[in-house]
C-alpha cells in the first residue's frame, strides 16, 4: 500500500495540514491523526503514536518533527523533505509577506500602536508557555533547582543560553545518569 503514495501526495497532504493548523499542539495532532491514519490509512495508530513520540524527544518544533518522522517512514528522505515543505509553505510565505510589510511601514503610528498591543500579548503568551511547561516538567526538587539555576544564570549573570542548555544536559547526565 505504501508504494502507491507519492512524494507529491505527501506534500499536498502536509500543505493542507500546515495551512489550517490553528489551535495548538493537541488540536494539530488530532488533525494529523484524522487525515493520515483514519482517512488516508498511510500509517497505523501505533506508528502514528511512535512518530509523535519521536517528534517530542527530538530538538525542534515537535509537530514539524512528527511530520518529518512520518514522511521518512513513508518515502525516506524525499518524504521527510515533502512534509517540511508542505507544512511550512503557507506559514513561511505569510511570515515573509508580513515581514516585508512590517519593515516597509516602520515608523507608521498605527502600526506602532498595533505592535504595542501585540507585544504585550506576546509577553502573556510566553508566560503561559512557561506556566504550561512548568506544570508538566517541574515535578520534584531536582527539576525545580535546574529551572532556578538556569533562570539566575541568564537573568543575573547573563550567561549564554546555548552554553547553559549544554551545561544543563551534562549536569543532568552526571546527576541522573548513574542511578539505576
Amino acid at each position: 500500500m505504501e508504494d502507491k503514495i507519492t512524494v507529491r501526495d505527501i506534500f499536498w497532504k502536509f500543505l493542507k495540514i500546515g495551512s489550517f493548523s490553528f489551535g495548538g499542539v493537541y488540536a494539530m495532532l488530532a488533525f494529523f491523526e484524522r487525515e493520515l491514519v483514519e482517512k488516508e490509512k498511510w500509517l497505523t495508530h501505533e506508528e502514528f503514536v511512535e512518530s509523535v513520540a519521536v517528534g517530542q524527544m527530538t530538538p525542534g518544533a515537535p509537530i514539524v518533527n512528527t511530520g518529518i518522522c512520518i514522511g521518512y517512514r513513508l518515502k525516506r528522505l524525499k518524504g521527510a523533505l515533502a512534509t517540511i515543505a508542505g507544512q511550512s509553505f503557507t506559514g513561511t510565505l505569510l511570515a515573509v509577506l508580513l515581514a516585508v510589510f512590517y519593515v516597509k511601514s516602520r515608523g507608521n503610528a498605527l502600526l506602532t500602536s498595533i505592535m504595542k498591543g501585540v507585544g504585550a500579548a506576546v509577553v502573556g503568551l510566553v508566560l503561559s508557555i512557561v506556566y504550561k511547561m512548568s506544570r508538566n516538567t517541574i515535578k520534584d526538587l531536582g527539576a525545580a533547582l535546574f529551572a532556578l539555576a538556569a533562570f539566575f544564570a541568564l537573568s543575573l549573570f547573563r550567561l549564554n543560553p546555548i552554553g547553559l542548555i549544554l551545561l544543563s544536559g551534562i549536569t543532568g547526565l552526571v546527576v541522573y545518569g548513574r542511578r539505576r
Binding site: M57, G91, Y102, V118, A120, S128, L154, G172, Y176
Partner: protein, 171 residues
Amino acid sequence: MILLKLCGLLIVINSLTIGGGFVMLPMLQQEFVEKHHLLTNQEFLDAIAIGQVTPGPLTVMNAVIGYKVSGLAGAILAMVSSYLPCIIIVTIVAKYYYAYRESIIVQSSFRGIKPAVIGLLSAVAISLGNTALVDPLTFGIAIISFTAIVFTKIDPSFVIIGAGILGAVLL
C-alpha cells in the same frame, strides 16, 4: 558573512531546541538581540508575534528574523538552516527509535535540559516584559492574554490579533 553567521547560529539553536518551539527564544534573543545587535527587543517581540499568528510552527519566526537581517535570501536560508538539524536528527532517531528511547544518556540529559529551559524562558519573559509592558494598559493586555491562553481553549493567534486591534484603538 552575515548570512553565514545567520545560518550557523540557527543550525546550533535549532539543534538545542529541546522541549518545544518556544525553547528557541532564549537562544535567539541572546544571539540576535543582545550579542550581535541584529534586532531590537521590540523587533524580536514582533517576530514572535508574526511566527505565532501565521499557520504552522513558531519556527517560521526565523524567516522574519532572516528577512530583517538580510532580505529574502536571509528568510529562505533561515528556514533551511532551522530545519536542517531537525531532518538529520529525526531521521536518525526514527531509525533507531527503541535504542534512543531507552538510552540513559538521552533520558538523563533531557531531565536536566527540560526544566532548565523553563528557567531560561522565564528570564526571557521578564526581559520582553521590560520592553513591552510600559503602562497599565499594556500590563492589562499581558494579564488578559496569559489568562485567556491558560484558562480557555482559545487559539493564541486570536489573542494576539485581538491585542493588535486593542492596541490600534487604545494605544
